[in-house]
Each structure stands twice: as C-alpha cells, then as structure tokens.
Point group: C2
Chain length 182, copies 2
Amino acid sequence: MTISDFVAENIDSSKPELPFPTSTKTVAKGGLITDYGQFEENVYFIQSGVMIVSLAYKEEDRILEFYFEGSFCASYSSLISNSPSDVRITAYTDVQLEVAKYADIQKAYETSLLANQLGRYATEQLLLDRVRREKELLTLTAQERYQSLLAKKPELVQQIAIKDLSKYLGVRPESLSRIRRN
Amino acid sequence: MTISDFVAENIDSSKPELPFPTSTKTVAKGGLITDYGQFEENVYFIQSGVMIVSLAYKEEDRILEFYFEGSFCASYSSLISNSPSDVRITAYTDVQLEVAKYADIQKAYETSLLANQLGRYATEQLLLDRVRREKELLTLTAQERYQSLLAKKPELVQQIAIKDLSKYLGVRPESLSRIRRN
C-alpha cells in the first residue's frame, strides 16, 4: 500500500496526485530510523513490515506503539512542536517505507486542500489511538489491557515477542506469561 | 477569545471569515454538556471558564482533562468514529461557549482549505496533549506527575479542587495531600 492508495481509500477516490514528493527506503530489522534527541524531519508511511516507537524509561524502554503496514509513523511531538525527539523509532522487522519530508508537507499545508485533508485525517486517527490507550492505562488492569489488545489487534499479539508485548503493556514478562496462561 | 481570534492567532492573520456557522451558549457551573452514551454533535470552543472531561471508572469517575479558555473541547472519539460517547463533559465553572455543529464542520472539510487547516492544527494540539499525558502515565509516579503539572499548568493547580486533581492524577485525595506537603 502507498500513500496514494491511502488517499484514494480515505480522502479522495479520484486518486489525485500527491501534493508533496515522496521517496522509498528499506530498513533492515533492528535498524534505527529516528533516535532520542534527534529533530524529526520526515513522516514515514509503512508499505510493508512493522515499526516500533519506544520511550526511554529507567534501565529499559517502554514501547509506546507498534505500527503496521498502511500506517503513518513519525516522532510527532518532535515534528509538531519542533523539539528534540523523546522517542526512538526502529524497524521491528525489515520494512519498506515511503518517506515524505516534513518541510515539503508544511509547504503543501499552506495552499493544498488535499494536504490538509490528509494531515487532518491521519492526525485524527492517531488521536483516536492515543485516547483509547490513555483510557485503558487509566482504567484497566494489565490483564484487561492484554485481553483488549487480543480482541482489537490479534495480528499484533501474533507478530510480537512476549518480552516486547510486556514492554508495551507495562508489565514484567513473567506477569504477561501468567496472564496468557489464564 | 473567539474561534475567529484563534484562527487569526494560529492559522491566518488576515482574520478570514469562518467557513462554518457558530453560535454562543452559556452553561452554569456543574451543567452537563455531553453525557455518556450520547452521540456528540458539536465542537465547543471555550470563550471563558473551565470544562472537564470525565471517564466512568468503577464507583467514581476519572478526570481525563481540564479545558480552559481558548481551547476546543468535544467528545472527539464519538465525533471521529461516530460512536456513543464514553466520556462526559461538564462545566466545571460557569462557562461561555462558542458552538459549531460537527455536520457543518464536516461539510466545510469537503471544500475549505481554512476549515482543514484549522481542524488539522487543533487536532495536532490535542494529540500533543494526549501523547504527553500517556508518556507521563507510563513513566512517572503520581508525585512526579503532580510536579510536572505544577510546572506546566500552574493555573490548573490553583483553580481545581484537590479531590478533582486527585481524580485527574489517578491517586487518592489523601495521597495527593501528602504529596503537596512534601
């Protein structure tokens, strides 16, 4: 899936030309895409593979989110507030990415209806995901969060190693193994 | 502050006409704006006062967020995914609101550059706030979250009763009193 396909599916079925240039890039499993402290310059669209966004936390990282094929991914806080990234983005599997420079997107935002429709839509979807996760962190136990994840994103539970799922749910791997047995 | 002022400050300083109609409404302290299970139909802009967004949680509610003058507020998940609201919005003080019907905004999104620029910008700001809060919930203790709040939003700590601050931070009021003494 390409950004053009995403636009055709969600914004404008007439398959208009993208209002900013993009390029493609492959990154091998484990490869670093954006590091802590870096100013994010790009928005990535995942054509294939899985990416993870991590947050530094004591000795080990927390995993904020897994991103799959057909999703946009970037250090958004860094982009939007033009500040050093407090997250790290890495390739969890080999990934094929479509890359748009944020400077080009911002230029398109000045005049392009389509660019703003796409930016608004993609941001709304990100917001829905973050709000859902915040509500779960505030109200569900780790076991309930695991069950919710299993119901909503079964592909995630299958493709992700237990130790990484536990970093996402904020529990120790042993606790997660116990939850899975129940 | 009106939506027009917000647009002039953040989107287009030429003070363009708003691409959707708005009306104003006053709600007395404690008044209900959007209830659990209701389909959200409006977006509210706070011209004066404070609103709170709550989430049902066991015997008592959690407070997801306080919204102040110059902010947009709505049950966004309900709007974006067209589903019953899982949050309740109430007036924490007497409030003066500028109200836009979401149906009118959606119509403007089809053709208006300004409507999409405004929607994108407002959604980006919401996303920044949610991401910040999610990161804090994942990495900070209640005491650290209180200190972060005090540093970033001192007006919130001053205007909000301890029992409500504790619902926002997810701690018991006695714990918050102890944290404040330290």
